[in-house]
Symmetry: C5
Subunit: 303 residues, 5 copies
């Protein structure tokens, strides 16, 4: 398929980047059912680290096998598959070149109390495994956040210099951020903006609520009449915070929910101008057949 | 335009530096409406990091787009434009060579409580983007201040060795510095002096008040009759602390204020021998037309 | 002996690895009494670090001599011998090539209170001594766990790039893990899964009890009816957590116990599909004759 | 001037060093009014860092200009001039080769509470500026002292390998050292001895009082009848602690005092066999004429 | 003198090491009065760091001069001389090749409260000064112990790769070790064993008392009837913990004591199979004549 006008336009936003990076970004944007639309659905599987294997895979035990996850990503025709080192290694050869891969290079786990993540992969690993890019989580607000930002800086710098894209999971928590604030409207906009300022190629945030968290931000939201009523309104503001929509932003679905709730959210993301969804537990915890059906409904909305 | 006598004289103060650095400093001092006068007005846009996107750009939403900020800097004919990585990348190619760029390589944000900043850019990035130099913030007094000073040392050393200038935001806080002391007369002089001792090419401080903060400093100020009455008096002492005026010092405007307050401040800086202003929110939070008009009034005073 | 089908199949799981690493893994899997069966018994001797020399060797004083430990490993025909630097150096030349060696590169000791280990060997040491791989302990849950994970990442990366296998001792403790949880069913599964995600070639965990430790995990175990009744059931779930059995997992025997208890455990590991045992104090604290007899009974079960 | 016998003898003490280092040490010992005598007077200007600009220079405002400080050092014919990066850079070209320079590579400031210093210069800077050596402060006793000692080790190692001398400001404080102990007789001897053990070329300590600070040291001083009565006695013991006088030790003058007090101290240093003085505030806070007169009186005593 | 059978046998224990390291070890074992016997007496002078100069040298003031210490080591015909950087530098050229040198590369001091040491020398320094090896202290049990162990790992690795031996001062303290435990029987055995596991060439421990410190160790000592009655019994067990006597272990004498006490200790070390003594204050705090006489009595026992 020839590159579409939409994708050509998106690539033009990344004017500071090398042709190598742009061609990896293009690989991702031209792949699968949404290829060429400027929208993406990505399958992420890092819940084994975050919540442990049983909470992640017991509902659909075939998913314990890394090959199953590759096949789900390939057969559902999503845009890409993001996972930690071990999962990508176990299939990288068998399925080489069949789906764009993103190596998640840091990971937290729920045995530890502190708000941090450990580096568990490198840019070199990503290249060895044929990935289009690396994924990295930051926790803006957390005590460890400046360290995480500096780690991101280094990894992102190395990735860029080798033509790999960086996908930044920007998940605020801790510091001045309240529990509700973690999905607060102003906080998510701030999180997306910071990721953009740091040079992220693709930004991943949670879908925000209407809650405005920081006292200093409240009057600004009121006085400027920034709309928060619908999911689409809120997504529109997040895109604005991402360089007036000139950075790709995808939204995460969170815990498994019913089909209609998920599709409603996707409709809101689409209407607000978001670039797509990251859908993990809502896909791999269903049977393959159900998961593919649901992912197709999602992609129908974005297409 | 040929280099003026004023600029030639300023370059002579930087006798320890390479011709490469001097030619980048010259590019900055010879650019725009104030080119050749030895004065500068710089547009800084790092408030998205510091205060979040809505507090920074909602008042003038076109400013969410990085291209707008480049155009504001170019059309207003200010001396240079300083911003973090993402903002400079998004426009570096489109506007290549049209305005001197300063990459701000560390950044704080208001989600975190501690007084520190994270490294978010490198000297290599600055070179890749065609910048004349790098900007770095230190917080003299803060618990993290010695670490920040050592980071500055490394970045400044690398910048110098590649002919890039260093602009040091020297913003005291924490430690023995009281809240009022952050803009105290003695403290700002101390902050400027430390930046000079560390080899800064350009020093950026806040415009000081008449408040003297440190007990050990008070008798010295009284006994030596150091004048503090007017803004010009105070600027004159800061310049003295900057190697008897042989280092370039620019002053920051702070939060948006009315036109006359700003112009009065500028008049004081000018009369006291300061080298110019850094004007952020007072420009990009106004409409482009208003901003350009105001910046021109400012530059008229300095010219 | 030609490589067996079983081993050929196991090697196919490690599709992301180099031929160098696969040939070292093959050396281990084809050695000794269990060569070619896909099962392993490994002799580990790091108790001198963990518990001190007298608690480790006073019961069988000939074991103070490092040569004795080499001979025990060779004469009993176990699959490999794992120990810290000093022990391997004292015999590396005398017994060169007679048994696959694993250099344990980090170690804790019981004089210190905190939950951490120190790096006491390097990949370079392992190569110099002719080892097939390196061993590394992580304590998922401990305050130091993210640091340990990052150290593992670096060492494992270096080992892989030189064709050495990595054996990960994944021993949860601290953080949200209760004392009982250290051998809890869900926790051990989590520990094994994390090691797999980090790219471990061989995973070493403790044999789990039926206790489920994390509140968030309990409903998942109940609702999905994951069997915990017998040792074999529990081992089966651990293997599932290890990429549906596509990573090698060996179980540790712990403190010396009587012959029948040990053999019962081994039977459970075997029936649940585990890949073998690590047997330290139960072998070197017995006389050589008794130890060899017991190890042979164990290997008979696995064969 | 040909090298004198005295200097030739001093150089012989540095038998472990390279000819490069010895020739830089010789440059210092052969320069100025005291050239060839084995005594030195050094002008140090790091008070701007330590106490701020006004407390340092308001008493004699021409001293705000770095060129003034160079000229004071040159015209007074002292042995050398020691200062931080910025001060040396601003004059390094104008006065190249006219006075031996020592780059002070770490600095503290009085806005911060903790007992530490930040690295603000490098050996490479010292070479670029044509210095004979580097200066470094340690605070034996302080929480940060082992870190400072390790930094000194690295910087001193790098300096030596490039033929630069190291001057160690050994200023005990914190830990088991009482406030009085900071200039205590036993503590200063200990500080000088540690600097010697670390390989310092020249040791700088404060002139000690008769106070013995450590309980463990008191009986030793009493039983061995170590004389503490006069300044000369005390200097004699410090020299003993500096490898029986085979390391160069200079003493600091401290806060500005009257002429006679200063000259009495100098007489004591001279009589006790000390190698000279470091005189900062007592010189640059006086008018140039007065300062040169006083420095000459000091040098007359040493000559 | 041709290498003796005893030394030839000792070298055979170090089978993992390079010929370079073995030849340096041989230089040490073949030097002086005890050359060829497999026993050693080493002169260590790091008390200036540990206790300050007056407590170390005031009793015999000629010892302030580093040349005196070289001469004491040479004239008494001990096996080697161990000291920090400054002391070895001041004499390295004058006495080049006259006595095997060991550079002590880390040091603590008694002005600081915490249980740690600072790196004060490097392997490169040791080579530059012609040493046979480096010395390093660890404090097993201390909060800093894992850091010290990792530093030892790096230094020891570098030393080995250049053919230098490592001498490990293994001095337990802090953590679970009681004050009495610092010289406790089980603790010293543990300390010696850990040093052996880390690959030390020579282990230095304190002569243990009969006190068993760790609760977990007590039953082991009782049940296995490990003899603790005499110094010889205790040394025998320490040697056992040092790889069944296949690592060289020397014992330290501690504070100056009377002649007979010292000789009794030496007799015990000898009878228990220890490899010798490190004797500092008991030698350099006596007059040279007395010191040489006493050292000869000691060596007579070992010979």
């Amino acid at each position: 398929m020839l590159r579409t006008e939409v994708v050509r336009n998106i690539l033009s936003w990344y004017e500071g980047e090398t042709p190598g990076l742009k061609s990896n970004l293009s690989r991702l944007l031209m792949h699968g059912r949404l290829g060429g639309t400027g929208r993406m659905v990505i399958l992420p599987v890092d819940q084994g680290f975050e919540h442990g294997p049983a909470r992640s895979f017991a509902a659909n035990p075939v998913a314990y096998d890394p090959h199953y996850l590759y096949e789900l990503a390939i057969e559902s025709k999503v845009s890409g598959y993001a996972a930690p080192l071990g999962l990508l290694e176990q299939g990288a050869d068998t399925y080489a070149g069949e789906v764009p891969l993103i190596l998640k290079v840091n990971s937290g786990n729920s045995l530890v109390s502190n708000q941090d993540q450990a580096i568990t992969g490198t840019v070199e690993d990503a290249m060895r495994l044929g990935c289009v890019g690396v994924g990295f989580t930051i926790y803006p607000g957390a005590d460890s956040s400046y360290d995480m930002i500096e780690e991101l800086r280094e990894i992102s710098h190395e990735a860029k210099s080798r033509g790999l894209i960086s996908v930044v999971w920007s998940y605020p928590r801790g510091g001045k951020v309240s529990k509700d604030g973690e999905t607060g409207f102003d906080i998510i906009a701030y999180a997306a903006h910071m990721a953009a300022l740091m040079g992220a190629t693709i930004i991943k945030v949670k879908l925000p609520t209407a809650h405005v968290d920081l006292d200093a931000a409240k009057p600004v939201y009121e006085q400027n009449g920034i709309a928060t009523a619908t999911a689409a309104d809120r997504v529109r503001h997040i895109m604005q915070a991402a360089f007036a929509g000139k950075r790709l932003v995808v939204f995460s679905g969170g815990a498994a929910k019913n089909r209609q709730e998920l599709l409603d959210e996707v409709q809101g993301i689409r209407d607000g101008g978001g670039n797509g969804s990251i859908i993990g537990r809502n896909s791999f915890q269903r049977s393959k057949e159900e998961a593919i059906a649901l992912l197709n409904e999602v992609m129908d909305i974005y297409a």
